[in-house]
Chain length 229, copies 8
Amino acid sequence: MLNESVLLNGEVRLDESRKERCGFPEFIFGANKTEEQLVDISKSLFSRGKDILITRVNEKVYESIVSKLHSELSYDKHARVIYWFSKPTLEKSASQKAKIGILTAGTSDMGVAMEAKLTIEVCGFKAELFMDVGVAGIHRLLNKIDKIREFDALIVVAGMEGALPSVVGGLVSCPVIAVPTSVGYGASFKGITAMLAMLNSCANGITVVNIDNGFGAGCAAVRCLMIHR
Amino acid sequence: MLNESVLLNGEVRLDESRKERCGFPEFIFGANKTEEQLVDISKSLFSRGKDILITRVNEKVYESIVSKLHSELSYDKHARVIYWFSKPTLEKSASQKAKIGILTAGTSDMGVAMEAKLTIEVCGFKAELFMDVGVAGIHRLLNKIDKIREFDALIVVAGMEGALPSVVGGLVSCPVIAVPTSVGYGASFKGITAMLAMLNSCANGITVVNIDNGFGAGCAAVRCLMIHR
Amino acid sequence: MLNESVLLNGEVRLDESRKERCGFPEFIFGANKTEEQLVDISKSLFSRGKDILITRVNEKVYESIVSKLHSELSYDKHARVIYWFSKPTLEKSASQKAKIGILTAGTSDMGVAMEAKLTIEVCGFKAELFMDVGVAGIHRLLNKIDKIREFDALIVVAGMEGALPSVVGGLVSCPVIAVPTSVGYGASFKGITAMLAMLNSCANGITVVNIDNGFGAGCAAVRCLMIHR
Amino acid sequence: MLNESVLLNGEVRLDESRKERCGFPEFIFGANKTEEQLVDISKSLFSRGKDILITRVNEKVYESIVSKLHSELSYDKHARVIYWFSKPTLEKSASQKAKIGILTAGTSDMGVAMEAKLTIEVCGFKAELFMDVGVAGIHRLLNKIDKIREFDALIVVAGMEGALPSVVGGLVSCPVIAVPTSVGYGASFKGITAMLAMLNSCANGITVVNIDNGFGAGCAAVRCLMIHR
Amino acid sequence: MLNESVLLNGEVRLDESRKERCGFPEFIFGANKTEEQLVDISKSLFSRGKDILITRVNEKVYESIVSKLHSELSYDKHARVIYWFSKPTLEKSASQKAKIGILTAGTSDMGVAMEAKLTIEVCGFKAELFMDVGVAGIHRLLNKIDKIREFDALIVVAGMEGALPSVVGGLVSCPVIAVPTSVGYGASFKGITAMLAMLNSCANGITVVNIDNGFGAGCAAVRCLMIHR
Amino acid sequence: MLNESVLLNGEVRLDESRKERCGFPEFIFGANKTEEQLVDISKSLFSRGKDILITRVNEKVYESIVSKLHSELSYDKHARVIYWFSKPTLEKSASQKAKIGILTAGTSDMGVAMEAKLTIEVCGFKAELFMDVGVAGIHRLLNKIDKIREFDALIVVAGMEGALPSVVGGLVSCPVIAVPTSVGYGASFKGITAMLAMLNSCANGITVVNIDNGFGAGCAAVRCLMIHR
Amino acid sequence: MLNESVLLNGEVRLDESRKERCGFPEFIFGANKTEEQLVDISKSLFSRGKDILITRVNEKVYESIVSKLHSELSYDKHARVIYWFSKPTLEKSASQKAKIGILTAGTSDMGVAMEAKLTIEVCGFKAELFMDVGVAGIHRLLNKIDKIREFDALIVVAGMEGALPSVVGGLVSCPVIAVPTSVGYGASFKGITAMLAMLNSCANGITVVNIDNGFGAGCAAVRCLMIHR
Amino acid sequence: MLNESVLLNGEVRLDESRKERCGFPEFIFGANKTEEQLVDISKSLFSRGKDILITRVNEKVYESIVSKLHSELSYDKHARVIYWFSKPTLEKSASQKAKIGILTAGTSDMGVAMEAKLTIEVCGFKAELFMDVGVAGIHRLLNKIDKIREFDALIVVAGMEGALPSVVGGLVSCPVIAVPTSVGYGASFKGITAMLAMLNSCANGITVVNIDNGFGAGCAAVRCLMIHR
């Protein structure tokens, strides 16, 4: 999650930019950056007509940035993401059928799911949410499974015991990307329990990203869609 | 899991024996005892006409004990338990309908399930096994759920991500005792992952015992049956 | 701990509601919900005449909810629970003798004990507290043991070294549900030490719930009482 | 990794078999099974003309099984896998260009890489190995990067500090599945360090499977190829 | 636990020997030493008329050493200690009333208790064992508490949940040295759970030594007795 | 650390009070108590002429209590302890030579050292501090070692790598009680590293208390002095 | 990180001061000190004409100290360091070519890098920063590698998966000191993952300091430069 | 620790070999290699006249290799290293004064120290051992400190509480490389405690390598000597 625009002209020149190297636009990881830095980066991206996706920023920072940029930046409260999609990106995303499904075990997992969704959209794809289909009420998942089976890739978000990806993985053949969330308390250890559970899934071929890493799950799903460009 | 027969006659005399105190017969935890000690204990129990349940012993020890006692001790390979049930115990157990169901996620969890089953039987109750109903093939559980709902208490045994108790807990109203097993590898950490997952179950009122503790789960289930003596 | 009211009418229809599936009323886990969400949920429950139990909310949230609902919601400071019990529930609970005993090792464990108590009451049962009977002054427990032995199930709450369930488990035959609390400092690791100690209890058939999970312990105790409906 | 052949004829009937549910053939996890069980399973698969892939078995077990089956089972020493591919599977696999690349950081990671390769082949796809391209000699990777970029999905296997997926992830746009291995000593904690490092990769959209889980990585890669069946 | 006999004649000369520095005789930690080294050390000690205490050696090593030294070395199977006490040491130890009590929770803790006992004896003091007084049968401890209160210091040995020191600490005023043992399984983590529990004891002024460190507990008790030489 | 004054008159009557049972006065653990509770307890102690020692309270709480009690309560900022010693206690403590030495590795360990000192004094003994004698400047300890050797027991307080008790333990023969502190950062893990280091001390017979537990160390030292009452 | 100025004149006199003992000036670890203490120490250092380096203090503390000292103390926001270098130190540092290179993986690692840089400068040496050369964009490092190879020692700062030191270590022959940072989230465990990864580096001879310990890395680099004084 | 001999002739060609890149000869990490692989590698090295250093092999493997190569390979039992130094290497090493000192806390740390020593020698430098200078008998270190101060770099090897590097680091100005060893038991956690202690050393500028990593420490020391080639 780098924001560099260096023109490389040295001897090695493996590649010019991340877009060419690995197909992703520029993302901004907002967590460790000052408001000043975020304003500067946003201005620079705007001036170059680039899409904007800044993760992990609170509403106060968003308001401050908007007040300084007078722009049309949007903010998603649950995902804690600032974003602005260019017309081509919006059109690309809108023109297609959703290819990625995002499932959550509980309502508290929504922020992580939204971070994934916005990440997918800034890459020009579309995602659809299925909320609150956790395993303690298994009928909720089963009632929707036919629809869920139609996607090209699934992101499954769960905290606490992180069991949902195992059930889903046993019902579909597409890539299943599991995202542990820090939802829970006590021995949930801020998501460690869910993460370990997912890494030990008895369903074949489940893969896992870092705790609360909706952004990473979105990128991983996009990588799947980029296979046959 | 104490094996004492001390006659208490001091001043305090809270109680004479465990049977009276908490309703359980004498159990022998075989893991840290020598063959000699186990032979002595078995002789002592036989001479008093007591049931025998020695947990965590390998087959070699069993054979050695049998050769020295010329008795009708049985051995369960999967549970690694030596046992002998007196006629009253057998009759009490046989005369009733099974009240406790034991579910396992995979075949590898069978040893732990059998340890629980034998523990329940030596206490004069009956248990029924439901093998291989893990969450990655959720239809296997759902096909049997009506029968499973008829029990007074359920023991749910699972390794790896330990997800089965959450699904079961959302489908029944009786006590659900979850037993994590050391089945798995890598980040399963010999059952720690399953144990943590179970402690964080999103199903209400699931309780948990130590890793591979089929014996403890059996005792806990028996405690439930002893409520209305 | 789900708050859904979806009418299920799809093909699978395993069950209509949690009450039917596993006997529990609707509970609200307040920790990750906004005030707005909690107000909405409370209104919806009121309009349907349902009991209310919202766990893990602070007093400020309670006051805000009350001011918006003009209702008779109560709040328990120690348990940090908002609750309102309907007349039938109150009558059912009042009409019976307490069946569940709740023991705490120290005064600091009171909040967790109260969360368990209110959970039991909203399910229509009754519980009685025994405070401050920790093992470092063992006479305090022994003086009350005859009374404690009369309950159908016991919840034992303890932080620090979590030793109380082991002593209690050796003195009674009913189900013993151990609740580790985050009381302590340094190597108590916010309840992990107590939780591990309880999982390793040398008393037979002790079961354990998550750290500070008074709610879960209450549910588990209620499951025991629902055995012979 | 379930081996069931139960014909489901109950009321629910979500699906008939794993193949239909999630597209995978039957795999056998050999680690916790007895020789007898493995012989029985192998016979059953043979009789039905099914491909065979038994993971985590040592050479002695392989020899014993072969001696009892008089079959053409093969054994891969590094992967510790017994396998037999039917003619259709072999032809399907042979007829296509390799779509999955498998990279290893060191020679010691070869067993895990081979387990992934055989898993992919039994599913009818093809994989190509790139050994010993670890980051401490970065030129080895860079020299091959053009070829590596041509694959549809990459499995990256590394122990110790688990850094290779981060470098690879920054150079390609396809799915990157990272497999931590237990190679290392001391603070490598049998693969935990590599696993954590991979989960924290600074490259976008890397996903991770359990330690030494070449089988799971193979399945995950196959899921990617099954997207556009 | 150093075995040096270096004559110090440099400039600093803080002290000549451990005996003078901290009052202990020479001990040999056998675990990481070869048979040859242990034979050499034993010979050297014999030739100087010194007492011998070699901890953590198995019986085979003991037999080998005896066969090479033709001496009167003894071996304690449970403690896994080789020892020989000189006449003055034996007399000093025999002439006095036992001042240190050693309590164990279960029979499996006996080896650690014996290591402590022999350590105390080689220092010229006397210790008395109280076996199997664990907390799950609290009457066993209470029946002996009057006698236990007479000692100058207590060593309390326990595995599993490590609760015994807390109960004992609440009943006596002398130093209580808690020794966690690796007895247990699953989440006992080879003694870590017991160790953490003891460090969090709710009884005032309990101190703790390393897991299975009977030797260290013995030394700590001896330090208490050396206060008023 | 219990504050009870229950008159026991039941059947068991093991003992009347902690003072008789284990020789300590009443202590108040302030951390989990409300201001109201602390005021009530203080009043009750005053009215009975008892000494007061309330640990783990901040200055604001102290000021509030003083304003409500109009008493002569003192407060130690570093130790975060409220205390008041009766005339007999002060005289007992003053009349004797210090018997306990308290060493700290760095200035940041002073609060813990002071908590130990006040605990010792409320028990009627005397302690002397030796600050800043950490191992990275070993001459500071060596310069004072002759004086340090004169004490009956030593409390050694250290954070970070917790090495000081090992050096001290090799230079004295009296009891050495090691107190790990949460001083440090990163991999000091709030005192865990120091605690583990102390439990593994290569010096014989070092004992350890919980992290930052100056109170516990003080009690343990007092237990040593109470040996020959 | 000790601030003592004791004149040693006892018998042992190993050395007079740290400068003589190990070549470092006096440093102040600000984290656990009060403003008053920091003002006193600063005054004392000023009066003796000593350089000042106070680590881990926030801006508010800096402003308070400056207002009380009326001095020319500087403050580095990123490093959170207060410093003042005497003329000789400035001249020594300025007169030489930079010998130490400091590399960071990301912008968020800058504070730690600056702490290292200032530490090196107060010791009279010079350091040069190379920011944002993390492994997910490997060309950034490769473009600068020729320049990086000219330094006498390298400090490599990285959070998240901590992979940068491995790549750098494989490209240079000088000492490489790796500094894990707490940058990251979820399973980065505040730097533990990076620290473990660095300790397991597959590059030969990488050494590691504590998490975020830019100061320690600076000191270690200075030790390298002091080899041939 | 790579053993590659690939001739690089692609486009990137950062460097031809590790010797040029980072100055080290080829080392063989023997732990995960088969006898056949080790024989092949040894032959290849011999044929090219290269020095040989194979770490982590047991004596049986050594004997097998020697029997197949008929060579003059040596074996160090303690270090578990196979080695053969060419004449130029031997002469280079012999011709110079030892520049690196290796200190060990106890005799059990000798294997790790020897691994470091042989690593240094195969690089053409010389090292000198100082055994058994652990902190529990601090006079042993102090008696030798003048000699120890003469080295250009120090490797300090210690298990258990890992305190030695802190004391040494406070007495010298040269680079101090700390090596934690897995010597100890219980809460030493196979070297983790020592490793953490060393990372938290209160002495300035101590650096740390992986547990038991004598090889890595040797390389790190050699990097220090290569500063001014």
